[in-house]
Structure formats: C-alpha cells, structure tokens
C-alpha cells in the first residue's frame, strides 16, 4: 500500500489501515516499512466487532489469532458514505491498490494491460484483458470483460425473462485460482411497448470485472520460460432489439497472465518476538 500512497495522495484520497495490533507494534512496522499513512490500533477488536467483521473462523481460545477481521476495505465519498467495499473470506488475500484507487475515484484507472483477447459475434464485440501487468501471489486483481452492444440492441441482466439468457462470465475452475463474484455494471430498465413488461438490460459499453487471485499453485512456465497463470472461461449473452432476439451466444476465452510464484517475502520486523508474545497473552485470563 505504501508503494502506491502517492497516487492516493495526488488524487486527494485519505488512506487508513486498522488491525488488532498494539500501537507500539504498529510503530515498529511503520518505521521498518516507511509507512506514512495512519496505522490504527484496535487491540481489543472493539471496532472490528462493532463493524460486524470479526473473523468467526478463529476460536476465542485460539490465541493469538483470535480478534482478526475478515480482511476487507471500505471506500467512502466526501460525505462519509460507503461507495464500495472489497472483502475476502481468506485472511491471506488482499485487494490490489489499483482496485481501491479505481473505486475511490469512481472512474477507470488506466493500466498497461498484460494481454488481451478479442472477438466478435454477430453484432456484439467483446474484449477480455487483465487489469495490470502481473498477478502476484495473494493480491486480488481484475480480469476485465468488455462487451460492446450496437445501438438499438440490449443484453439482459438479472432477473432474466423466461427463456432468455442473462449476461454472465464464468471462469473455469482450476486448482490454485481464486475467483470472486463478478462485478457487473448497473442495468437500466427497458419497458417493452407491446407487453408493458419492464426488463433490466445492458446497452452500449458493458464492462464486467472479475476479481481473481492465486496462491502460487497453478502457476506454470509458458513456452518462453515465463511464469504465467492460464485463465480460461466463457462469456454468455443474448442480444435483442425491441422486436427480436438473436440466439444466445457463449464465447470461450483464454488468457495467459504473467504471475509471480512466490508469496511476497515477509521479513520479521523489529521486536517481533515481544509483539507476538504480547499478542498471544493479552486475552488470557489473568490467572491462567
């Protein structure tokens, strides 16, 4: 995060990070890593509990792990309203700074793209790309599917009318690849003149983002000896105008994304043993 803090500062966005660590442990971390934004201390997990995000997978007797949150981030606007959030069930995953910055800006953060694949099917064109240059272990980044729907046509969102096919992107299961729920743009209502039925549709440029991550399994070498993770999947849609619908389409795609195999190396910070011992004992009953 610190590597990207200038981008947030330049955009006028404040950054805070909260954990159940003691202030002195945070101070050692901040000085060891050159952190310039506030690291907030919630040693009794009171704020974490008040937010309702206490990680319930750890047992209250499971010191020192008990008290951590489900990892996640909130993005708030000028008035303090939450405009987006990113949460993970696994404590090992974290969103990329780009995802947070994009959400805070409410606009696209243009990135050099690692690879893209594109095609056209009848009237609708599509483009699949990876948002970023590299997928490091444990960092969540987006696979981006863009559909261009010609004027006068629309694609269906959920809920889909009987017999029609909703727009979706499915990533094929593979060991080592973590795939989160796709983030679709909002639909707009379209009322049919004949029946008066109102449908939820996409039109124009439709951008679907699928957050993905890997934890090193599944990373392979390509023919040139570069480390990559191969991602395959299928895009489904059905395009219609107000009179007729085309046949449903399903278009497979494959992307080879540059990947780093290792988990980010994490050295021990100053006074690690003391901080860890304190963390381990702080919730024990006094006479235990």
């Amino acid at each position: 995060m610190q590597d990207h803090i200038k981008n947030f500062a330049d955009a006028g966005i404040a950054v805070y990070a909260l954990s159940y660590d003691e202030p002195d442990a945070l101070a050692d971390y901040a000085s060891g890593h050159g952190v310039t934004f506030p690291l907030l201390s919630d040693p009794n997990s009171e704020i974490i509990e008040r937010f309702g995000i206490l990680n319930t997978l750890t047992d209250p007797d499971d010191h020192p792990w008990y008290g951590i949150p489900f990892p996640g981030s909130y993005v708030v606007d000028e008035g303090g309203t939450i405009i987006d959030k990113f949460f993970e069930s696994s404590f090992m995953l974290r969103p990329s700074a780009d995802q947070l910055l994009r959400a805070a800006l409410g606009e696209a953060v243009e990135q050099p793209r690692a690879e893209r694949t594109a095609g056209a099917s009848e009237d609708v064109t599509f483009d699949v790309s990876f948002d970023g240059q590299m997928l490091n272990a444990g960092v969540v980044r987006d696979l981006v599917v863009k559909l261009n729907v010609p004027q006068g046509f629309h694609l269906y969102g959920e809920p889909v009318p009987d017999g029609m096919v909703a727009t979706s992107v499915e990533i094929d299961d593979q060991v080592g690849l973590v795939v989160n729920a796709p983030r679709l743009p909002p639909t707009s209502p379209l009322t049919l003149a004949g029946t008066g039925e109102t449908l939820q549709v996409f039109d124009g440029d439709v951008e679907i983002r699928i957050p993905i991550a890997h934890m090193t399994r599944g990373v392979t070498e390509d023919d040139a000896g570069n480390l990559v993770i191969a991602v395959t999947g299928t895009i489904r849609w059905q395009s219609c105008d107000v009179h007729t619908c085309q046949l449903p389409r399903h278009e497979p795609f494959a992307l080879s994304i540059p990947a780093a195999r290792h988990n980010s190396p994490r050295g021990k910070d100053a006074n690690f043993s003391e901080h860890f011992a304190k963390m381990s004992s702080r919730r024990l009953p006094a006479n235990e």
């Binding site: 006028g12 966005i13 404040a14 950054v15 805070y16 990070a17 909260l18 954990s19 660590d21 945070l26 101070a27 971390y29 952190v35 506030p38 690291l39 907030l40 201390s41 704020i47 309702g52 319930t56 997978l57 750890t58 047992d59 792990w65 951590i68 949150p69 489900f70 990892p71 981030s73 909130y74 993005v75 708030v76 606007d77 000028e78 008035g79 303090g80 939450i82 959030k85 949460f87 069930s89 696994s90 404590f91 090992m92 974290r94 947070l100 805070a104 272990a137 444990g138 080592g176 890997h214 934890m215 090193t216 399994r217 599944g218 990373v219 988990n263 910070d269 690690f272 901080h275 963390m279």
Partner: protein
Amino acid sequence: MSQAEHDPSPYAVKHESGMWEDKFGGLGPFKPGSGPRQDPFGEFPTGPAIGEQLPDIVAMSHTGSEVDVHADRSGRRAVVVFYRSAVW
C-alpha cells in the same frame, strides 16, 4: 458457525519449513481447515453496506496520537483497510 461444521482440507501439506500449504498453494503457520485458514465460501460478514455511512472510527495510531477517521479525512474521500496484523 461452529468449528466442527468445516471439512478438513484435503490439500493440507506440511513443508520442511514447518509451514502448511493450502489448496491454493498459500503457506501459513497453521493447518488449512483450522482457525482462520478455514474456507467460508459463501456467506461471511462484510459489515456496513454500500450506501451506508461509514461508522465512526476513533483509534490510537502508530504515532501514539488518537485519530478520528471522519474528522481526520476532513471532507476527503478515503479508503479504510481492515487487515489481519502488522506483526504476522
């Protein structure tokens, strides 16, 4: 959700380093399927919803001063990250 409801991971592999590898290849100090390494695919709490006001956060910071997030950001947009620990 009780601990017993979770299946132990079939991918639990112990490395020479003493670290345990999970099905995604992630290495951690405890066995996959136990404690925070369980996999609650599906429902898990993510706190206040989009569209709600971010609840107040007033906490000590690493500099030893108290920070009130809403006051400190003074009208700026903000990102608030909840993470596991700066120690481990």
